[in-house]
């Protein structure tokens, strides 16, 4: 009886500590959608930076917000456990999220030409993420 209680207590403690969780396909689709959203919006912002249609303060602050969103997805995927069938998709999602975050962080100091290239990369990332979540 004592062992059973200890086992239950340990189980509850581990659960309360929020140990790593198994990533489902549905959750991964949500992450792809989040990456797609940040990348698509970042592409709009980058296009405006490349054409001088925004302010530097706005590009820095809002670009930073979108980068943080993508970075949060990357961090979440890094800590998640997944089945063997999802491993490749999870790795792709992490690479996409990380590259979207890095591009958006670069936007602040990018020249107009570089901002145009960032916009195209973000559009491609958005399309890839959209395909994977479908």
């Amino acid at each position: 009886m004592a062992r059973l209680l200890v086992a239950m207590l340990l189980t509850c403690t581990v659960a309360a500590c929020g140990g790593t969780h198994e990533l489902t396909r549905s959750a991964l689709d949500h992450d792809f959608e989040a990456i797609q959203s940040a990348a698509a919006e970042g592409a709009l912002l980058s296009h405006d930076v490349s054409r001088g249609r925004t302010t530097s303060a706005f590009a820095r602050v809002h670009g930073g917000e979108l980068a943080a969103q993508a970075e949060a997805v990357s961090a979440r995927l890094e800590s998640a456990q997944s089945s063997a069938s999802l491993k490749d998709d999870v790795a792709l999602a992490r690479r996409l999220a990380t590259s979207v975050a890095r591009d958006l962080e670069r936007l602040d100091e990018a020249s107009e030409d570089e901002a145009g290239r960032i916009a195209r990369r973000l559009e491609e990332a958005a399309q890839t993420a959209d395909r994977e979540s479908a």
């Binding site: 797609q36 405006d48 302010t55």
Partner: protein, 408 residues
């Protein structure tokens, strides 16, 4: 001419108080999630607020007392206390969300750190409420809020499918995620009918010294002012629907709203939009703070009103200072103001019946209102919208849970 001016002032006040951070967030998010399919929900919300704001203004004009005062007097201490507690909890959340919203907009304009701008926002709020006369608050923040019309220009520039826009005004269930769809219905109606709007409207009527001969002005203020606020809400939703919905973008930041003006119209429109949001959200913060202080002062029978100097209404002044300070502490915890806005709107929906049922009862009380009590049409619309309000109040929390706060 004075009457026209009085109407203009009231219209501006209605715009400034109506389009707050909740309206901005929910209308933009709804457009991005469902395209034009939820425009009809804005119409329902605007209809409800026009109906009940007119009642509140009429109660204040006839009795010389704001509606909260009248509720306590006619319906008793217990009913008044329930209404007061519910309203104050929502007011506190809204003040915190609006102060955070002001700081976010200042950050998007200046690039300065958010936490430092929180202090600027709360100090600015305190100074404006302390020193600026009531009429000037209406003018400054009302005119400033009109800058949001840039979204109407942008929405047209985005060349939406106007046939689809038109079909969005017809109530129907759209999309595959029904729970999420109705979550936004609840949010849109809730954002349009947050309790502080009617309390502020009626207290403002007393501040402006309205009498029964101002009932025409009251009706014009309510109908035209809130309709214009609804028009701005349409512009926000159509912008998001035309720009973000086709791209699958989920606009979870206030910057996403600014981008909605920038993409079709450029940098100048971005700045105009952000300044417009600053005045709208700042004006709403002032309205909410004053509404909270009005409620407490009227319930306990204290002297109140901006027309008295702070020394002439010390407990009223203390009440709004406490609300500002508490709102600042809430947002200082680091909670995301946009997320806080969503919680505030959804929880305010739950409290809506405690606000609107007493208003309907007082407005119908012939012993109190005499020949100015509700007529047939006021009661028809009042009851119809009350049923809607009660339905969304019941559905709000379950939908919030099922949809994970609209995340799907």
């Amino acid at each position: 001419m004075n009457k026209v001016f009085a109407i203009a002032l009231g219209i501006l006040a209605a715009i400034g108080g109506f389009v707050d951070i909740g309206d901005i967030v929910f209308n933009f998010a709804a457009g991005a999630a469902f395209g034009y399919e939820l425009l009809w929900a804005v119409v329902v919300g605007v209809g409800a607020i026009i109906t009940y704001a007119e009642m509140c203004g009429r109660v204040a004009s006839v009795s010389g007392r704001a509606v909260f005062d009248a509720v306590r007097e006619r319906l008793g201490f217990s009913v008044g206390m329930v209404t007061l507690v519910a309203a104050q909890i929502v007011n506190l959340l809204m003040v915190a969300a609006e102060v955070g919203g002001v700081a976010l907009v200042l950050q998007l304009l200046s690039g300065l750190p958010y936490r430092a701008l929180l202090l600027v926002a709360v100090l600015g709020l305190g100074l404006v409420v302390w020193f600026m006369p009531f009429g000037w608050i209406e003018r400054v923040f009302g005119y400033g809020g009109l800058l949001l019309l840039v979204f109407a220009v942008g929405a047209i520039k985005l060349n939406p499918d106007w046939g689809e826009v038109g079909s969005g005004f017809v109530p129907h269930v759209a999309g595959t995620d029904t729970a999420l769809y109705f979550y936004f219905v609840v949010g849109l109606i809730g954002a349009a009918t947050v309790p502080y709007e009617v309390y502020f409207f009626s207290s403002g009527a007393v501040e402006e010294r309205w009498t029964p001969k101002d009932l025409g002005v009251n009706r014009a203020n309510a109908m035209i002012g809130f309709s214009l606020g609804g028009f701005l809400s349409f512009a926000l939703m159509i912008t998001a629907a035309a720009l973000y919905f086709p791209r699958g973008i989920d606009p979870s930041k206030l910057g996403s709203v600014g981008l909605g003006a920038e993409v079709p119209l450029g940098a100048a429109a971005l700045v105009i939009a952000l300044v417009g949001i600053l005045f709208a959200v700042g004006g709403a913060a002032i309205d909410t703070v004053l509404s909270g202080a009005y409620n407490v002062a009227q319930f306990f029978g204290w002297e109140w009103g901006k027309y008295r100097k702070p020394a002439g209404a010390p407990r009223f002044t203390f009440a709004w200072l406490v609300l500002v300070a508490l709102g600042f502490l809430v947002v200082l915890t680091g909670i995301d103001p946009i997320m806080l806005t969503e919680y505030a709107v959804i929880f305010s929906v739950v409290a809506l019946p405690t606000t609107y049922i007493p208003i309907l009862l007082v407005a119908n009380d012939r012993a109190y209102m005499g020949r100015y009590a509700n007529g047939r049409w006021a009661n028809v619309f009042g009851l119809v919208f009350l049923v809607v309000i009660c339905a969304v109040a019941v559905a709000a929390i379950p939908l919030m849970v099922v949809t994970n706060m609209g995340q799907g």
